[in-house]
């Protein structure tokens, strides 16, 4: 992949639009793929060539490695960009892409594998001198659990080893409660996941979710591009993100960046990736996981640093050096991203597929809207509920939120219930816009 390349965009929705834009901006050709229902989608219309890869359910199209590789061969592309979600963190997919002779725009498969497994990622962090949430080996009986919990310190979480995505977790405040619930938690894990293995982890009440953006090329250059605060979540799904993290002191900011870089260097990281941490109210931080791909909320980092992260991904995959160094990396102002989802905030966030009957986009200085949708288009039930990402930058946090308020007042999406009304409330909530909130703030709010 040198000079003008052909890049297959193995994704859909707003991130496919984002990647096609980056390809064209850099002078590359973009090849789109689409499922039945996405036939006339925006990224398909924008791309230089578009290939049908299968039925609407993701398993038949965007998760179908063979269909994607067949498209890549047919279109004679040089490289494959996986976007986020779908196959982006699937080591077997990265391997298959490489084996078929294409460049995978992401880290090496071994690194995806290492960071994709909870236990090996945790070990890698420890080896790199990055603090992890105090936790235990698997525990099997109540006496053992109580002993181990004393070492870790309360409050703790009892976690099912086979759980994931926030399922199979029980908070426990002391030894009495642990004695009461441990056997039941194991039995529940056995029935829900077919595996009763449990381990204990220190609970971090009122912690914030802060993540660090990394970029690494193939010439030994690795930089961090500061952090994003993604504490506004419901059911562990991010809803609003900010950069830089509000109220974080400069020392902690640097320590987080350096810790993320140590981990990146230790595992031989390449391309763009994100190291996620929990930061407790005392400023102590703990590694949670690494996302080995471009992140949904990457635009807020672009807004405060002026670095085009997807363009850097393409450069790195092309064998070029990063266009910046740690010393030249700067951040300026503040940015907030609001995720507009087709979910009904008044009805337990139930997904709302359907037709968009009206779509009026906001604009103005510092306002960016990443979306694949417009009026008359269908929001399909087959994929995630993201309609648009509204990103507002300001010279300071107050201006960023003022612009967000204005943009949200202009933004009209009709036909499906969505999260715009909730965001209008959030940007008026001083606890959020003038303070710093923790990961359970939104759920405790109402």
């Amino acid at each position: 992949m040198t000079g003008r390349s052909r890049i297959l965009v193995a994704n859909r929705g707003e991130i496919a639009v984002r990647i096609v834009r980056a390809c064209h901006t850099a002078g590359h050709e973009a090849v789109a793929v689409y499922s039945d229902t996405d036939k006339n989608a925006r990224w398909v219309r924008m791309a230089d060539e578009a290939l049908h890869i299968g039925g609407s359910p993701a398993a038949k199209s965007y998760l179908n490695t063979d269909a994607i590789l067949e498209a890549a061969k047919y279109a004679e592309v040089d490289a494959v960009h996986p976007g986020y979600g779908f196959l982006s963190e699937n080591a077997a997919f990265a391997r298959a892409v490489t084996a078929a002779g294409f460049t995978f725009i992401g880290p090496p498969p071994e690194v995806i594998e290492l960071m994709g497994d909870k236990a090996s990622a945790r070990s890698a962090a420890t080896e790199a001198g990055v603090p992890v949430v105090p936790g235990s080996r698997p525990v099997t009986d109540t006496d053992d659990a109580v002993r181990v919990a004393e070492e870790i310190g309360y409050p703790i979480l009892v976690k099912a080893a086979a759980g994931g995505g926030g399922r199979g977790i029980r908070p426990v405040r002391d030894a009495t409660q642990l004695t009461e619930v441990f056997a039941g938690a194991r039995a529940e894990a056995q029935s829900a996941f077919g595996d009763g293995t449990a381990y204990l982890e220190r609970a971090l009440p009122r912690a914030r979710h802060v993540e660090v953006q990394l970029l690494a090329d193939h010439h030994g250059n690795l930089v961090h591009l500061f952090e994003r605060d993604c504490s506004v979540q419901r059911r562990r799904q991010k809803l609003l993100e900010e950069a830089p993290a509000p109220g974080l002191d400069e020392r902690t900011r640097n320590e987080l960046g350096e810790a993320a870089k140590r981990l990146g260097e230790h595992v031989g990281y390449r391309n763009a990736g994100t190291v996620e941490f929990l930061v407790d109210p005392d400023g102590r931080f703990y590694f949670i996981e690494m996302n080995t791909r471009v992140q949904v909320e990457h635009p807020i980092t672009e807004a405060i640093t002026g670095v085009d992260l997807v363009a850097e991904q393409l450069r790195i995959a092309d064998g070029a050096s990063l266009s910046l160094t740690q010393d030249s990396a700067r951040h300026s102002g503040a940015a907030v991203e609001l995720r507009i989802n087709a979910e009904d905030p008044d009805n337990d966030f139930l997904p709302t597929p359907g037709e968009i009957t009206s779509f009026e986009a906001p604009g103005g200085p510092g306002v960016r809207l990443d979306t694949a949708l417009t009026r008359g288009e269908q929001i399909s039930p087959f994929y995630d509920s993201l309609i648009a990402k509204l990103v507002c930058w300001g010279a300071d946090r107050q201006q960023a939120y003022a612009r967000a308020r204005q943009a949200l007042s202009e933004f009209r999406v009709e036909g499906v219930a969505n999260t715009i009304p909730l965001h209008r409330e959030l940007v008026d909530d001083g606890e959020l816009t003038e303070g710093a909130v923790h990961t359970t703030w939104l759920e405790e709010r109402s």
Partner: protein, 79 residues
């Protein structure tokens, strides 16, 4: 004989996960409120529960099939 229809569009599943047995086989008896299938809508799994009692005579969809809102999913011989 009556037909239960899907309330939501999405992907239809008869089992909790690919390795597990179906919630109920054809020929099985259902009571109102009993879980018979899942419909995945925008990455969330919504339970399809029986709204009548009877014997499941036939599923009109297979595992992983696309389903439209209002589409028939299962035929029940009402008791």
């Amino acid at each position: 004989m009556s037909t239960m229809n899907a309330q939501l569009p999405g992907v239809f599943y008869r089992r909790p996960s690919p390795e597990q047995a179906p919630f109920i086989e054809e020929g099985g008896t259902v009571e109102p409120g009993q879980l018979v299938a899942l419909i995945e809508v925008m990455k969330t799994f919504n339970e399809v529960k029986a709204d009548r009692s009877g014997i499941i005579s036939k599923f009109l969809l297979g595992d992983g099939d696309e389903v439209e809102a209002g589409q028939g999913i299962v035929e029940v011989d009402e008791a």
